[in-house]
């Protein structure tokens, strides 16, 4: 099935949203809860599964829904279709600070493998599936777990991750060592493995953990600079309510400064 071709525009710097323009009759699928606004004439429809037409029958639908559950997505997908006579826009917002990147599946050979939970929205016809990590070591120590998301189709998908997102092209055989947890998405052609940091001293004291993720080309990979889990850990460590310690931010007044700076509750 040919994908709907959608025009889009991404707004914002670090807390972005993407506005997708739908021609009459076109549709986009969005992650549940990601919709930010839509214009008149766009109808919202919630379907069980991922809304792609590949899955026939009840069993196929259940299977699709089950897959979505495993990847941490909602059971239902929302389809936004333009029922009006003109072009209409619908916007999807990223759930946490980071970047939204558009990926043309056709350019990648039809398949993108990405971190679970990173899918934001796509043209109708893209199917969301799961990809099990084949390598035990990568599943355990690769930072992305055993289950990744697999997006199939030939349309446009929008993927979101934390911090700054960087796309990198790897030549055949070119290897990149990446901090585990920073891999957002990769083309199917890229080999994803882990590697022991090499020295016991580094493993213990470098703060990089025991393993690197290694990505070997050819193909394109996307990396995030700040996995949301890392940000969350920092915030919790700092949050007094969660048992953290708020530091004086260098104020001479120290604890007293907290009384004066006005952000007490």
């Amino acid at each position: 099935m040919p994908m709907d071709i959608v025009d889009y525009e991404i707004f914002g710097d670090d807390m972005q949203y993407v506005e997708v323009e739908l021609d009459p009759g076109e549709a986009a699928i969005g992650e549940a809860g990601a919709m930010m606004m839509m214009q008149d004439g766009i109808e919202m429809d919630t379907v069980f599964g991922d809304g792609s037409t590949q899955q026939g029958g009840l069993f196929g639908k259940l299977l699709g829904a089950g897959k979505r559950l495993v990847t941490g997505e909602s059971l239902f997908t929302t389809i936004f279709h333009n029922e009006s006579a003109g072009k209409r826009r619908v916007a999807f917002a990223a759930p946490y600070p980071g970047k939204i990147i558009p990926v043309h599946l056709a350019e990648l050979g039809g398949t993108l493998i990405c971190q679970k939970d990173s899918f934001l929205c796509a043209a109708r016809g893209v199917s969301l599936g799961i990809a099990f990590q084949r390598r035990l070591g990568v599943g355990l120590f690769g930072g992305e777990g055993f289950i990744m998301q697999r997006l199939d189709g030939d349309g446009l998908v929008f993927v979101h991750a934390g911090g700054t997102l960087m796309a990198r092209d790897l030549a055949p055989g070119e290897r990149l060592r990446v901090d585990t947890g920073c891999v957002v998405a990769l083309q199917q052609s890229v080999d994803f493995d882990i590697q022991y940091v090499g020295k016991l001293k580094s493993a213990l004291f470098s703060g990089e953990g025991l393993f690197f993720a290694t990505l070997t080309g050819p193909g394109r990979v996307w990396l995030q600079s700040l996995p949301i889990s890392r940000l969350a850990n920092r915030i919790i460590a700092m949050a007094p309510a969660a048992g953290g310690r708020s530091r004086g931010e260098g104020s001479l007044l120290g604890g007293l400064g907290g009384l004066l700076d006005g952000d007490n509750n």
Binding site: E107, G109, T111, I113, V138, P172, V190, P218
Partner: protein, 361 residues
């Protein structure tokens, strides 16, 4: 398709994706055909023929497993990748590629990784199964294990526990501070427990339900309903002797240890600690239920104690007869968790017959 002049193949080309060789960084579609000594790669950029001798093979794993053939060209290295299972199988079994050392290595590593996977699955299975096995073992030997653990708990500790539970229950019980029945229960109880290591306390609660219960450490509560249902002090002594045996045999403590153990195992198994154990313990003791075996044991022990203390054991036997008649459709609470009165009466009757001629009073 292509000609077969040089001993090449007339097979259908294999769909692959070509990287490097001037293609875009994300590669492009290509068709792969084998000839006797070279492979033909047909893409939008044209056709190139690569000698088999310079080909390298490698497995690519990015959640999905694929096969890559790569070679060095003038503009850098090029790679062909195949991901569909059918195409991978065709490549793997291709007579020309089978000769390649890398293919042999790939096959070997595949076998190795398969072996590893088996080991990993086995370990994982064991990991999952272990708590289940522990749970089953505990369920199977629960009474024995609980008994052994309870045996290590000092009496003072048990009494403290009993008092704590009693303090919680006290408000909901209408305890009688004085009265004939209290005096009667106390005097009978003291006679039954004279040389016990436990310090007993006997209470009478105003409640029409025919019930009596014992808490760990020696607190025994008798409902007025039960006292009214007995026709002689000997019958009441029979009930008390039974309850005293629950204390002496530490049934409450054993039951508690068993419950806590199961709960702890359940928590370890499910990762759900649900509720504080101590709070649960109080609830559990408040509505103590002993096993059938424990009840029969308490009956037998009580019977012997009655005989030893000079009570008429027939009182105990008779009381079950009274109970049986009173029971009707709904048994009184004291019996609800117990074996049937008739069954117990029979067991005691047998004991009574073993005793004849009766020791008298």
């Amino acid at each position: 398709m292509a000609t077969t002049t040089s001993g090449g193949s007339a097979e259908a080309p294999i769909a692959a994706r070509l990287f490097g060789c001037g293609t875009p960084p994300t590669g492009e579609e290509a068709q792969l055909t084998f000839w006797s000594s070279q492979v033909e790669v047909r893409s939008a950029r044209g056709v190139q023929r690569v000698p088999l001798a310079i080909l390298r093979a490698r497995e690519v794993v990015s959640a999905e497993a694929g096969l890559e053939l790569s070679w060095d060209a003038r503009g850098g290295s090029c790679a062909l990748q195949v991901f569909s299972p059918a195409a991978i199988a065709r490549l793997r079994s291709h007579p020309l590629l089978r000769e390649m050392a890398q293919m042999a290595r790939l096959r070997a590593s595949r076998m190795r990784s398969r072996a590893w996977r088996t080991v990993a699955v086995a370990l994982l299975g064991l990991f999952v199964l272990l708590p289940v096995l522990a749970l089953l073992a505990f369920l199977w030997q629960a009474d024995r294990i609980a008994g052994a653990i309870a045996g290590r708990i000092p009496v003072a500790r048990e009494q403290q526990l009993g008092r704590q539970v009693f303090a919680r229950m006290r408000d909901s019980l209408k305890l009688q501070e004085q009265g004939e029945s209290l005096l009667l229960v106390r005097s009978l109880g003291e006679r039954l427990t004279r040389e016990s290591r436990f310090r007993y306390e006997f209470h009478v609660a105003a409640d029409p339900a025919i019930n009596a219960f014992a808490l760990p450490g020696g607190i025994i509560v008798v409902h007025t309903g039960l006292i009214e249902a007995t026709r002689s002090p000997d019958e009441l002594a029979g009930v008390l002797a039974h309850e005293v045996q629950h204390v002496e045999l530490r049934h409450g403590l054993k039951g508690l240890v068993k419950q806590l153990g199961l709960r702890g195992l359940w928590a370890a198994f499910t990762g759900d600690a649900g509720g504080t154990l101590a709070g649960e313990a109080a609830v559990q003791l408040g509505s103590l239920r002993f096993s059938r075996a424990a009840e029969l044991q308490a009956d037998a022990g009580g019977f012997d104690a009655l005989v030893a203390r000079g009570f008429d054991p027939r009182g105990m036997v008779d009381f079950f007869g009274t109970m049986e008649k009173a029971a009707g459709a709904t048994p009184p609470p004291w019996l609800s968790s117990h074996p049937t009165s008739a069954e117990r009466q029979q067991a005691l009757q047998a004991r009574l017959e073993g005793l004849e001629p009766a020791p008298g009073r």
